[in-house]
Amino acid sequence: MSTVVESHDHGHHGPAKGLSRWLFTTNHKDIGTLYLWFSFIMLFIGGAMAMVIRAELFQPGLQIVQPEFFNQMTTNHGLIMVFGVIMPAFVGLANWMLPMQIGAPDMALPRLNNLSFWLLPMAFGILISTLFMPEGGPNFGWTFYAPLSTTYAPSTVNFFIFSVHVMGVSSILGSINIITTIFNMRAPGMTLMKMPLFVWSWLITAYLLIAVMPVLAGVVTMMLMDINFGTSFFNAAGGGDPVLFQHVFWFFGHPEVYIMILPAFGIVSHIIETFSRKPIFGYSSMVYAMASIAILSFVVWAHHMFTVGMPLAGELFFMYSTMLIAIPTGVKVFNWVATMFRGSITFETPMLFSIAFVALFTIGGFSGLMLAIVPADFQYHDTYFVVAHFHYVLVPGALFGIIAAAYYWLPKWTGNMYDETLGKLHFWLTFISVNVTFFPMHFVGLAGMPRRYPDYALQFADFNALISVGAFMFGLTQLLFLFIVIKTIRSGKQAKPEVWEGAGDLGLEWTLSSPPPYHSFTVQPQVK
């Protein structure tokens, strides 16, 4: 179904002026901008927490913060990065790009779109404010296992639960909007199998979100009941089970991590295609692979729980299903490489980040495959090996995807080219510091350092010092990124509609001016 877009002129009107523009906007580009700036600010807040963690871990001993505060830092660093940086950034990119990529004037539900965004500053305002309350903020890890997060939690846990509910509502409403937009507002001629891969990635991600955010809502509500209303969902005394918490949480948690990577897959496919000057290899397989990953993501959750005491049959099942996910993921990596093969390649900043994505996400994938092997996982579980794995797939994975998208589409959004030299500098400093930070974590985890430790035995000292240095470098380098973004918004060489050589044939967004008109497509394009 596609809606008919009227082509009459509304008269010259652009955005409102001042604060009202941003509070009340229903324009997908403005809302995309809001999400992206929100995510960028959260990156620095969550990043600051990481700096506190790494400063404390720079040397053995407790020098800078006490364990009480350290646990709050690790918990909130995780919560902010997952729910406040990666997810909103991808939603922001979706908001900016999806209508343009499908030839629509805006999202299907523009007012709902505004609500979806503004729920987030509210949710995070509440969450971050708990750090300043007397009992301190949440301190039980971003995975908040019961009973540490129920019976033994500070009373600020209730704010945490409320905040998670609000974030969940935001995601669900946003996903409803995205699915409705994609199914109803595509330009005529754009069948599903002609949609850009970023659109596909978001269609699938939106379904995942609708499926699992209610499960998260369920688990935090059960927590709320256990804490305040005398129920025993996770309390053995009343006939409940702490392991139930883990099952329900990870039933949400595993699809959640695919929610955090699928849009990056879409972005990277676009960028590699553009800068190899060659169509993406195996378009249909790319679609089927993303869909398979999404479906499989529902049957692997217990690989986060291999040491809770599951019976042998259960552990083997989850080992096999987890290993299976490597296949569609591998297919995607092969297809990206096949796109580059016999292309005509240039190395602008988005391409550099995308190449690094393919290489480093693959390394993260390998450590993931190692973690899937249950008996070996007995030695990896809850150590820095896991921390290395998920940081590899999230930082040079998801975050590089977001940064690559920013460089790729900034000229479209602002009408100005970013400074290529600075962009490359940002890339190389980031690439080096990311590896200095996260690669040694594999070693220190294999050698026996557990995670969520504010202090450690002496044999881990050298690597921890190196990791901290890398982390400080990584954090500082992102200030350069901030500078580059602001500089691009304010000045820079004028960007053409096409921006990148040959991009005109690659997507409808490149047929619009840079920056695009306020309502993007006022006349519906035809797709052949």
């Binding site: 702490p242 591998g330 050698a447 026996g448 430790y453």
Partner: protein, 382 residues
């Protein structure tokens, strides 16, 4: 550019050699330990097999990618081909990937079955995770003890240099006999903890209300150090696991000694204690079991951990003082110590906290003896 290419080319060969040397050393800072049991060795070998398979796949994929990036540069005149699929190639590499995974799944399943052995243990040890220490109980001999971190706070705060086994040493390690099938029964007392000894490749979560099981059989004597691997609160990093494997005769002597000590404790309950004896015992008990929350200076960390110095209960209300130690405080982190510690220990620490710091000058001076604790338990008037 050319210089960078030359260096990179050399690195491609040098790095794997460098890493192999590190990885293959027995006790390395880079790799999982081989460990000392059959199971841990099987797991190490499996880990290395999977690792090398990943390395080979990685080398192949990255080689093709980096070669393409170099060879098909537009700056060197590459013109893009226009193919965008190849059905049989895609089928081919999908099938190949599946076969590799099946190939990995077979040894993984075998090692799993080896590790998941439910046979009877010759020795059974109940391990309970507490905030923030381990309790070990030998079920056959009905003797048990707590195992606390023994690294001093001064080392942690950087006031004195750190010892060799910083954060990996305890006052009472778990002692097990070699060449014996030892079965561990693991549970939690409060929150979820996890008991891990890398050299045995044993890791199981300690879940309150539930018992998990693990086993090991250590062929040679030695000391093996592990950790708590599930976030359990502020001292998660400060409750290490230390296991001493000893020859059977030494183990039997150890158990006999523990049984004798338990008997002595029971005798001690009925002896007459002086204030100084109680203070001395209470001071060391306090340092190990109370200072973590109430602090060495008795100031606590209000509001969560009340100050004991100047506390009304410690100064004037010895009955309440006993009740709190014996029964804990509902809804707070103060556990019931009554069932975990002897009457002697409880009486000593109560006496100590009533006299220590400025409490001795300002308080009512009441001393609590082990007999008082026995009386409390049996509801005789104090």
């Amino acid at each position: 550019m050319a210089y960078i290419k030359k260096v990179s080319a050399k690195l491609i060969f040098a790095l794997p050699l460098f890493f192999s040397s590190l990885i293959f050393s027995e006790k390395s800072d880079y790799n999982m330990p081989v460990g000392v049991t059959d199971v841990s060795e099987s797991i190490f070998e499996l880990h290395m097999i999977i690792f090398w398979i990943c390395v080979v796949i990685g080398i192949i994929v990255f080689a093709i990618m980096f070669w393409s990036l170099w060879k098909y540069r537009k700056s060197k005149g590459a013109v893009a081909a226009d193919f965008d699929d190849n059905f049989w190639l895609e089928i081919g590499w999908t099938v190949a990937a599946t076969l590799v995974l099946v190939w990995m799944a077979v040894p993984s399943t075998q090692v799993m079955v080896e590790a998941y052995d439910d046979a009877e243990g010759e020795i059974n040890i109940l391990i309970t995770g507490h905030q923030w220490k381990w309790h070990y109980e030998y079920l056959e001999d009905e003797v048990g003890f707590f195992s606390n971190l023994s690294t001093s706070q001064e080392q942690i705060d950087g006031e004195v240099p750190k010892g060799e086994f910083y954060l990996q040493e305890v006052d009472e390690p778990l002692v097990i006999p070699t060449n014996t099938r030892v079965r561990f029964l693991i549970t939690g007392n409060d929150v979820i903890h996890s008991w891990w000894v890398p050299d045995f490749a044993v890791k199981q979560d300690a879940i309150p209300g539930f018992i998990n099981t693990a086993w090991t059989n250590v062929p040679e004597p030695g000391i093996f150090r592990g950790a708590c691997t599930e976030l359990c609160g502020i001292k998660h990093a400060f409750m290490p696991v230390v296991v001493r494997a000893v020859e059977r005769e030494e183990f039997d002597a150890f158990i006999a000694e523990k049984v004798a000590l338990a008997e002595e404790e029971r005798m001690l309950t009925s002896k007459v204690w002086t204030k100084d004896e109680l203070m001395e015992r209470g001071e060391s008990f306090y340092a190990v079991n109370c200072a973590a929350c109430h602090q060495a200076n008795g100031q606590g960390i209000p509001p969560v951990f009340p100050a004991l110095e100047g506390s009304q209960i410690a100064l004037n209300d010895s009955s309440k003082h006993i009740e709190i130690l014996m029964e804990g405080v509902q809804g707070s982190a103060m556990a019931a110590f009554g069932d975990s510690y002897s009457e002697v220990d409880i009486a000593s620490v109560i006496t100590y906290t009533r006299q220590a710091w400025s409490n001795g000058e300002n308080g009512d001076g009441v001393i609590v003896t082990p007999q008082d604790i026995v009386a409390y338990k049996n509801r005789i008037d104090l």
